[in-house]
Symmetry: C2
Subunit: 406 residues, 2 copies
């Protein structure tokens, strides 16, 4: 059993890096608060006897030797970056539980056959730079390192500049650190476990993700003197697109979601009809055929709206992550650990994307979920209980021990 109090204290120790007045965390990837938590994490890893290295995209790896050093380690961990108004658990729990597993093994003097390696992946959130899970996507070859290094945030800062700015552009080429498998603990970020009163989610699949960048070009004109029929209003156009996205997702019932998360009017003014708006769309399903239908329906709705309103809508798919089906052997290992430890559990699909979803495309991977309060995440009010976090960490540890061998 891991040390529940130590894990809990450690989570709350990191929550100070970027703490917000409402009790959440704002620790945008590769910003100053991310540097603080990274420095802290490196120090704690080294204190736990791990050999730390950083790759060219800033992902951090802490290696614990095993008896058979010819085998690539079992990876475990998550991420330490947060949303602009994020919570204390998203990513943090999985990364610090990985540290707690190492500390527990150290305290108990347990040596594993296969080495283990704890990870902090860069930019899982995808809020400052797109796409989400950027570093693990490059790790599995979905993007080249150079492509990712050149991505820009809203202020035009590149990933390369941001990495250099905080001194986290590491020496190790991306993909060099090999793994025999990867296990990630995370809060569910949805309402199911809590509603069904289950402690552990055995994650067997994950939704696919479509991300789009949109730009509407209508025509700025005077809000008082431009008759309604002559308008080419970019915000009224966006409004129809937002409601179309919502209706399309609802049409597929619980099997799809769709969101417009960002919308920025260019040069807004109270008495000017908006002429240009940049926006983003995020839509998801665990079913690849539904993902295709979402894309098709959305594009045809947008085309109809744009033609009727005589505006131009640019709509570009910038990221497509197919649905994930986690490795059955590792999923079973998670389930066995939960059973063995006597926790209530159920199989579950991840609504959110995770680095484990990327890694699963090149190695066996699986995930452990624990409940979060009211299913709330990506919100400063995100909450989880100490016993649930500890249960998740125990399942993580026993899954890793089963895979690494004692």
């Amino acid at each position: 059993q891991i040390d529940s109090a130590r894990l809990w204290d450690t989570i709350h120790e990191t929550a100070k890096f970027g703490a917000t007045p409402k009790g959440g965390v704002r620790r945008l990837t590769l910003g100053p608060e991310d540097k603080q938590v990274r420095d802290w994490f490196r120090e704690r890893c080294e204190a736990a006897g791990l050999e730390v290295h950083v790759d060219a995209l800033g992902s951090m790896f802490g290696l614990r030797k095993g008896r058979d050093m010819s085998k690539p380690p079992i990876g475990l961990g998550s991420h330490l970056d947060t949303q602009p108004t994020g919570g204390k658990y998203d990513g943090v729990l999985g990364t610090l539980a990985a540290l707690e597993v190492v500390r527990t093994l150290n305290d108990a003097g347990i040596e594993t056959e296969t080495p283990i390696c704890i990870c902090n992946w860069t930019n899982e959130e995808g809020s400052r730079f797109a796409p989400a899970m950027m570093a693990s996507a490059a790790y599995v070859g979905d993007f080249t390192t150079d492509d990712i290094l050149s991505r820009r945030d809203a202020e035009g800062v590149t990933v390369a500049q941001a990495l250099d700015g905080i001194g986290y552009r590491g020496e190790t080429p991306v993909g060099t650190q090999k793994f025999s498998g990867f296990v990630e603990l995370h809060i569910e970020q949805g309402p199911i476990l809590e509603a069904e009163n289950k402690t552990i989610g055995v994650v067997d699949s994950g939704q696919g993700v479509l991300w789009y960048d949109g730009k509407i070009t209508g025509f700025e004109s005077h809000a008082g003197s431009t008759p309604m029929p002559l308008r080419r209003d970019a915000l009224a156009t966006l409004s129809e697109i937002v409601l179309a996205m919502e209706a399309i997702a609802r049409k597929h019932g619980p099997k799809a979601v769709g969101t417009v998360g960002e919308a920025v009017i260019a040069n807004p003014s109270r008495n000017v009809i908006p002429g240009e708006i940049a926006f983003t769309v995020d839509c998801r399903s665990a079913d690849a055929a539904i993902m295709d239908a979402l894309d098709k329906d959305l594009r045809s709705s947008i085309a109809e709206i744009a033609a009727r309103r005589k505006v131009d809508v640019q709509f570009d798919l910038i990221w497509r992550k197919p649905p994930t089906h986690f490795d059955p052997r590792l999923v079973d290992a998670v389930e066995n650990a939960a059973k063995m430890l006597g926790y209530s559990h159920r199989r579950i699909t991840s609504g959110a994307g995770h680095d484990a979803c990327n890694l699963n495309t090149v190695m066996p991977a699986a995930m452990v979920f624990v409940p979060c309060k009211d299913g709330i995440s990506h919100n400063e009010l995100e909450d989880a209980t100490q016993p649930d976090c500890a249960a998740g960490a125990n399942v993580l540890m026993h899954t890793v021990l089963a895979l690494a061998g004692v």
Copy 2:
């Protein structure tokens, strides 16, 4: 006749203060470019022999003596501030045509019975600070000077700070400069004169204006893992409000317009359901009963949408300007001048608000419109022809001469 080429050159001389790459002007009220154009204007007024003073809200007055100095002057002018992406004519034409009238009278050695006073009113646009026509509204007593001085822009800067920042908080208390009447020349900012091939609009009325500040509070949550039915999406809510405003305005046919010009998502992120949005509404009609209906319909739509979507919508009327009915004697004077000069003309209602609409509540006022290309205004592409601008300036001059007496 005024000097058409001199007027045209003067317009294009000021267009360099805040010139944008697309050929428009960005000269936000009381900003550095506004200071430049004000300094320029003061210098040119003084060069034309005017006695310039500035009131406590920065409005500029250039007095030309008349034979009977016991009579308050006839006022003429407009404003020199612009929208964030404004044009070269909105406000500028009326202010510089007033200067051109003075220059023409000087050149011709014409003395008037009643003095005349050319004006540059502070913050007509209402883009940086609300409401629009702020200084003339204080002039007529709709707001106190102190109230207006304490209004803040989006960055929290007050009108008082902005005035002090550019050295334009004048000595004269607001309202001290009296007028016998006021005439304002302006581009139409709408499509009617051009469509009907008329040179002069004899403005007999103006739409009333309702301005609202809105704030939607939903709930931020994860775009991937939050089921559609559990969402309290602030942007989907705004979208319904935007389309409701549009439908309500359309219901009243050509007699109403409604616009959401600003909408800002708090802490936006691609994969976060928007939890909070601030927005503004501008709606107008020339009919006070329709204005009341717009307000009522909008409020009941918003209440229904908010209840259904389980979000909170704060919706505050921050400005109500009733419809304007210009002084019949001055409207006739404008019409007579147009007739006498042989310009095609028609009576017209102003879709936009103007300082003359405020001034009309305490003195006889009227306006002269000239066409603008495709009815476009509040856009960098705003355009007008040299002959139309000159025609407007001639009508302005002859109206003023008829009122001031030669």
